[in-house]
């Protein structure tokens, strides 16, 4: 990696990243892939998030679904771990709670492939710094 040598370089890199991944806090959903984020802080991992993440990766490969699976930090919903957030192109992100290995497959069958939701969705209950 070449070092970032100025604030302008940093801003250019940010712009490049955002056009590529759509990960910005501003853009609603610019990405083209399905994005799956698995909450993997210590507590999430302890309640089985690693296994859940493996299921998503395996199933997507097996079924030839174009998706990006990444880990992320704690989403704060300790009561509903493991938690997984899924963003489909053109849709708002949806957070699923109580996702065990079985439920992970069900989420793929229902939501990823058929746009049907499953029980245990966690509504976003906070403001981000962008709209506050």
């Amino acid at each position: 990696m070449e070092k970032i040598k100025s604030l302008t370089d940093l801003k250019n890199l940010q712009e490049k990243l955002n056009s590529k991944t759509g990960l910005s806090n501003r853009s609603d959903n610019a990405g083209e892939n399905i994005r799956v984020k698995v909450a993997m802080a210590t507590c999430g991992i302890a309640s089985g998030a690693k296994e859940v993440m493996e299921v998503f990766i395996e199933e997507f490969t097996k079924r030839n679904i174009d998706a990006v699976v990444t880990q992320t930090g704690c989403m704060g919903y300790c009561y509903a771990e493991p938690t997984v957030e899924i963003t489909k192109p053109g849709n708002e992100p949806i957070t699923f709670g109580y996702v065990d290995v079985k439920k992970a497959s069900r989420i793929i069958d229902k939501y990823v492939l058929n746009n049907e939701l499953v029980d245990g969705i966690i509504p976003v209950n906070y403001e981000t710094i962008d709209n506050k």
Partner: protein, 597 residues
């Protein structure tokens, strides 16, 4: 198969369930079946929306309409009007007090969303092991702005204006701390991140480091620039291996990208960070003890002054801030001091992260604006008390804190109000207790922790807390006399007044606070030898009800200490002297013949 066009999200949080959300789910299903809409509408049960006061909540997707206070009888109307005719049911629409459109999505629900995530803004959004995720969300731009546009003095001025106070518990104004460190002349200065999170039940610092490590690195660099330090140290407890691993990855990446090291962003500013591990002593969260531990000495506190800002790590001026404090800082420089100061109360600005635990439905990590009430935290965000039990108290401030009770439910939470209410902010553990929790036992629990963690340097803390613990043990065992209660209070005050550091000065707080708020429970333990919560085993008696006992001998055979005697087919009897109150007999009895008195 037809495609699902509508989703009804029915809140399945405990508060809404108590308000019949199950019946709402069922009625929706029935009407949908009746009208043969099952291929178009799907009804889903969700987690808590965090507006339990307006429950039960139903959210319609995709148009994001919110219906509040829905009853099972409304279901047919909602489907008839909203779905079939396309008209929203206006009487159930969420009424916002702001200028927002009725019933629109979350983003415009301004006033009613209880949480604002500033310190946790990236937790759960970015991959903490990828610096580019952080950069994509404005990462290191605050540092860039500070280095290119602001002098160190102007940087500190902004921080002072923001009103940010230390989130580790003390609440000292952060900007002022930075200014003091800046004003000391020295050839070498240090900035230290205190990640020795030790309060039982508090884990916000771990979550920040595991979810967004770069924000801490960025804020430390800003701190270095404005105080004149080119070295930073993160002091983190060794019990946090994942946080350490992610921190190391973040530091490596930041160096590769030139965001740590020499000549950062071409400005000539040099700054780098190293990690030191804490070996698990609670007192090392105290800044002087932390510094001694970093120097390889025993983790014991020393009297202030001199403050670390004047003479700290290796005798050099050292600025120590907590993880959560740091996590707020990049956001302040990106959004402005006025923005930050616009959130919170007069003297406590911004937000606080709390770890909500105990007898509460939605256990979790929350970030709320200062000034929110305990009632909102417990009953709206927390979804209320588990199993509909009665609320008794909230313990805040960990082993240094106190109990807040029913009378404090509507007090706005900030540094000063919590102290006025006999507790403190602390690092943000919030343990909710219900009627089944004994307040004497709770005080004893915290004191046991302090006794274990006292470094032993000063007598009031080392010996005093031990004696205090023994007295509490007498109370919970029903062996105390009334005079002991006065002794408890007196000794608590002595320890408070004479201990060397914050640990000892605050350790009797749980005792004093529980005595202030629940003196009747102490009296009952001593006078009536009773624990109303049924918590203190020594004060409980397992009794066999003679008319229910058929003499099957099952209890006697299962008693580990042979405390139960009785002939076959005759009522048995428990020898209270021998009984260890394990409850095995009660578990085994099939005739409900054993009860607790």
């Amino acid at each position: 198969m037809a495609k699902i066009k509508f989703h009804f999200l029915v809140c399945g949080g405990a508060g809404c369930q108590a308000a019949k959300s199950e019946a709402i789910l069922k009625n929706f299903q029935d009407v949908i079946m009746e009208r043969k809409l099952e291929t178009e509408i799907q009804v889903i049960k969700t987690g808590c929306f965090g507006f339990c006061g307006d429950g039960p909540i139903v959210k319609m997707m995709p148009d994001n309409t919110f219906y509040t206070k829905v009853t099972p009888e409304d279901c047919a109307e909602i489907i008839e009007q909203h779905i079939v005719k396309g008209i929203k049911v206006s009487r159930l629409l969420y009424q916002d007090s702001g200028n927002h459109e009725n019933g629109s999505g979350f983003k415009t629900r301004g006033l009613h969303k209880k949480q604002i995530r500033i310190a946790l803004r990236n937790c759960g959004f970015i991959n903490p092991e990828n610096i580019e995720d952080y950069i994509a969300r404005d990462g290191y731009q605050a540092l860039g702005k500070v280095l290119t546009e602001l002098t160190p003095e102007a940087t500190i001025e902004i921080l002072k204006k923001s009103g940010l106070r230390g989130r580790g518990g003390g609440g000292f104004p952060t900007g002022l701390k930075w200014e003091i460190t800046r004003n000391v002349k020295a050839d070498q200065k240090y900035v230290v991140c205190n990640a020795d999170e030790g309060d039982p039940g508090a884990f916000m610092d771990r979550s920040v480091l595991e979810g967004d490590p770069h924000t801490v690195l960025e804020a430390m660099a800003i701190n270095g620039y404005s105080t004149g330090a080119d070295k930073g140290v993160v002091y983190i407890r060794a019990e946090y291996p994942l946080a350490i691993e992610r921190l190391k990855i973040a530091m490596k990446q930041a160096r590769e990208y030139g965001l740590l090291g020499n000549d950062i962003l071409g400005t000539g500013f040099n700054f780098d960070i190293e990690i030191r591990y804490g070996a698990g002593a609670f007192v090392c969260g105290e800044e002087t003890a932390l510094i001694h531990s970093m120097e390889g000495l025993r983790g014991e506190p020393t009297v202030k002054p001199p403050f670390p800002s004047e003479s700290g790590f290796l005798g050099k001026p050292t600025n120590v801030n907590n993880v959560e404090t740091y996590a707020n800082i990049p956001a302040i420089f990106l959004k402005g001091a006025e923005w930050f100061a616009g959130i919170g109360t007069e003297k406590s600005k911004g937000t606080k992260v709390f770890a909500l635990a105990g007898k509460i439905n939605n256990v979790g990590l929350i970030e709320v604006p200062m000034g929110i009430t305990l009632r909102e935290v417990i009953y709206e965000i927390g979804g209320g008390i588990k199993n509909d039990r009665k609320f008794k108290a909230v313990q805040t401030g960990g082993p240094s804190g106190g109990m807040l009770t029913e009378k404090d439910l509507d007090t706005p939470i900030d540094y000063d109000n919590l102290i006025a209410a006999g507790s403190m902010m602390g690092s943000g553990g919030m343990i909710v207790m219900d009627e089944d929790d004994c307040m004497v036992a709770m005080a004893k629990f915290y004191l046991e922790f302090t006794v274990e963690e006292s470094c032993g340097k000063c007598s009031p803390c080392r010996i005093g807390n031990k004696r205090l613990f023994e007295m509490l043990e007498k109370v919970t065992k029903g062996q105390a006399i009334m005079e002991d209660l006065d002794k408890l209070r007196n000794l608590s005050n002595v320890i408070k007044d004479t201990s060397l550091c914050g640990l000892g000065q605050t350790s009797p707080n749980p005792v004093l606070s529980s005595m202030d708020n629940f003196y009747h429970e102490y009296l009952e333990h001593v006078g009536d030898k009773k624990c109303r919560a049924g918590n203190c085993k020594s004060l409980m008696q397992y009794i066999i009800l003679a008319e229910n006992c058929i003499g099957c001998t099952l209890c006697a055979r299962n008693c580990p200490v042979d405390a139960i005697a009785g002939e076959r087919k005759q009522a048995h009897l428990i020898d209270q002297e021998k009984c260890i109150k394990c409850g095995a007999c009660m578990d085994k009895c099939k005739f409900n013949a054993i009860f607790i008195k």
